[in-house]
Subunit: 348 residues, 3 copies
């Protein structure tokens, strides 16, 4: 075997390679086209009209139909993987995600992450890295941002611990901090074309909506989706580490699947404006049948004409009792895949 | 479990919810791009030159290469599912499908269905609903139309039967009723680039063409295809109802696969102008290997320069004796998937 | 069964149907869009920045991001299959592939092959056909060319042998014969956005780079990829001939997978300018996990500003000892899938 065959490959960063305040530009900018949009519709049962029709989007005040907000998230997140989570032991959480500007076919996205916190674990073998990742379009304007924190291995367990910096993370994005796309206007909104008559006033806080349908996942689909975001985390593609030959499905695939299923009952929750918190409660594999339900957590006004905000809990499960999420120990039960808290924009 | 978790989801219409003469606008308009076109080529072995090359289409008098006619059908059909067949017990048939105007990348499609017939079954539990579904582009111009009839459950078996109205359905679209795309001209047609030398005069009524190749189907492919048309009929996606974990494949997937296979021997049957009748004779599942053959049923002239019409029977089978379609009882044998009767346009 | 059901289908050419000097135009021109580009990113873990971002490509002197060079190869190769290799017993090799002009979304590709050699085998049942295949864009300008030779069946073993003509094939493309795209300029190249800091000067001849990651292949993916190039060679789609139901994976799928994996360590080997030689050493099937490594074979200057050329051996394996390629008999061992020799362009 040749010597030094990996000196040019990316070993990823270890815990001691991060410094609070450092901004890490991520590689491989990406131009989005109608192709990515079509694939999103092939991979997920996505039907929200604002992402499906240029005409519908224009009636809502936008110049054309943007790509699904989650596509922007996946692309930006994918770019951050080689610099942030290649040596991650665990993705611990994310918070304060905000969409700042729609992304359209023809836009080119790039991303960078600022290190906003560091805390070595007591074992001395790992530490928690907090970053704020931001995606930008070709004009240098931010399109979305989120904070996440991951547990990263140390290269050298003897390396000294940095001063612990733990950022304040808001428990949820305040409604006043949501950014409404310029020009968005739901006063001419066509509920018939959107697919359901329910407006913000029709939803009650505490109301639960079962999205009814189930989708059984396939290896080819989740790999195509994850590659489409240029997320090359090997655990999603290489079957050899597991005796059953299955690959761990990218958590974002479950988010997109659950969000698309939520059309049935939430067809007018058109745009995702923020993610407050999220847990990938259990791993997901090909063969799992994903179902979803939502709970209305809050409602708010916005300054845009006819546009309100709805805060939703989106739960995805595989089998089991869908509405029983946690055991007596307070932990998610094994059939729970996703427990997400987000804000969407809806006609008032 | 929470109460009333489904009050906002679409329960679908039941038999007593339809009225003859009512026009039902379908939800979720859809903008088509080069992405949908590329996916069509990835999902089916489609090679007809008019759908593959802008240059070839221009020589035939069109402004650019349209999307496959079946793609327009799938999108329009998919839009009608939530309003017409969500509670269908059976899709009984379709007829009088006509393509009225090509669809190009950039077009936005929407659809509506007019109820043209109702007939309660003698059991009192179900009834037959006849609709004429029409797809429109962003200019409000019709791009295609078809009639179909489905058996739909009643919500309340005690509800009174409506007056029976059974529409006259033509046994086939008359050649004079076929709509030739404006500008279509096959006088400069390049048979070399198209792939075969056979023109309309070379085909005889009664001639049978074996399309030779077989394609084995996969779950990931048919689900991506069906989702691409935003057809979310749960039977195509949810593996849990069946012990073998298979999902029923959307009949339109078989139509597109058989039509694409028919290139070999019918490369110059460029555009589909009408569907006269069709039967999905048996269910299709992943693992089935689809083969196809065609029989020439009729030939006709059109008013467009160099453009003729060929009426074809397209049969798709899985295993078995491909040319033996029916048993002694007159019913399709289990290996027959599709028995379709359609009109295509071909150079004279 | 009907008589003569295959008289209109393409039987392919047999050995005696070829004449040295004949130019065979291939059918079915193809317009490429952003959709094909998106699918390429979904099917392969492709991350080279020049193919990912219009902005990055503009900084490198190009008008926009071209489609992956291998996509151009696949499309041109696919067009040649019905005329060159439908009755091939074996694909024996290829050489002297050169990329002559980038392909962009919106371009329409067509192809033709010139017969440059013929040699009947001693058995009298088969012969070797040598062709030079060239792809052209809608302006009639060549975009790439390659030579390949295949063993083809004779229709009639008694047919007389043609005069043997065996073309001179260069062992590799000379650096001076590589065509650098007009305007290409790496003097403003952004290594940070490209993903790695290594320039041509950092690579040594003889250096080996292990690309680390593995990708397990699925039937749905390779069939979608192969169909996307309109390559309809039945062995890739029909599961019925093999007891295990597997389909032989198109060799080009392995090339694209290995090339995409090589980003990790060769992120700046941006454009493929030539292929010198290549062997598909063993068949590849769904379930195989592909890994790749590269060896630097040569380095050269070019006349374009900041642009150098790197000659690479790209090896793909499935399991086994990745760096042991051949047995004592000098033949590739069963775990070796691909052994390719190519030129790429890299910042100096």
């Amino acid at each position: 075997m040749p010597r030094d065959t990996r000196i040019k490959t990316n070993p990823g960063r270890f815990f001691e390679d991060y410094t609070v305040g450092e901004v890490i530009p991520h590689a491989v900018p990406r131009t989005i086209s109608g192709g990515e949009r079509a694939l999103y519709h092939a991979l997920y049962p996505a039907r929200h009209a604002l992402y499906s029709s240029d005409e519908f989007a224009r009636v809502c005040g936008l110049p054309a139909s943007p790509v699904d907000d989650l596509m922007a998230f996946h692309v930006v997140f994918g770019k951050s993987v080689p610099d942030v989570s290649l040596n991650a032991v665990a993705n611990l959480g994310y918070a304060e995600a905000r969409w700042l500007r729609p992304v359209y076919a023809g836009d080119t996205l790039r991303a960078s992450s600022e290190v906003i916190g560091l805390k070595q674990n007591s074992s001395g073998k790992t530490g928690v890295v907090y970053v704020r990742t931001t995606g930008f379009n070709q004009h240098g304007l931010p399109v979305m941002e989120f904070k996440r924190w991951v547990m990263v291995r140390k290269r050298d367990p003897e390396a000294p611990a940095p001063e612990a910096v733990v950022p304040d993370l808001a428990p949820h994005v305040a409604p006043g901090d949501l950014v409404i796309p310029a020009g968005l206007d739901f006063t001419q909104y066509d509920f018939g074309l959107a697919g359901e008559p329910h407006r913000l006033a029709d939803y009650e806080v505490g109301e639960v909506i079962d999205h009814v349908d189930g989708v059984t996942l396939e290896e080819a689909e989740h790999m195509m989706a994850t590659r489409l975001w240029q997320n090359t985390s090997k655990t999603h593609f290489d079957a050899t580490p597991r005796p059953d030959g299955k690959r761990l499905i990218y958590g974002g695939h479950v988010i997109s699947m659950a969000r698309a299923l939520s059309f049935n009952g939430l067809a007018n929750a058109q745009m995702i404006a923020g993610i407050n918190a999220g847990a990938h409660a259990n791993p997901c594999f090909a063969g799992d049948t994903v179902r979803a339900w939502s709970e209305v957590l809050d409602k708010a006004e916005t300054a845009a004409p006819g546009v309100g905000a709805i805060r939703l809990r989106l739960v995805a499960t595989k089998g089991g009792e869908p509405f029983t999420l946690k055991g007596e120990d307070g932990k998610h039960l094994p059939h729970v895949l996703l427990d997400l808290d987000y804000w969407a924009l809806m006609p008032v």
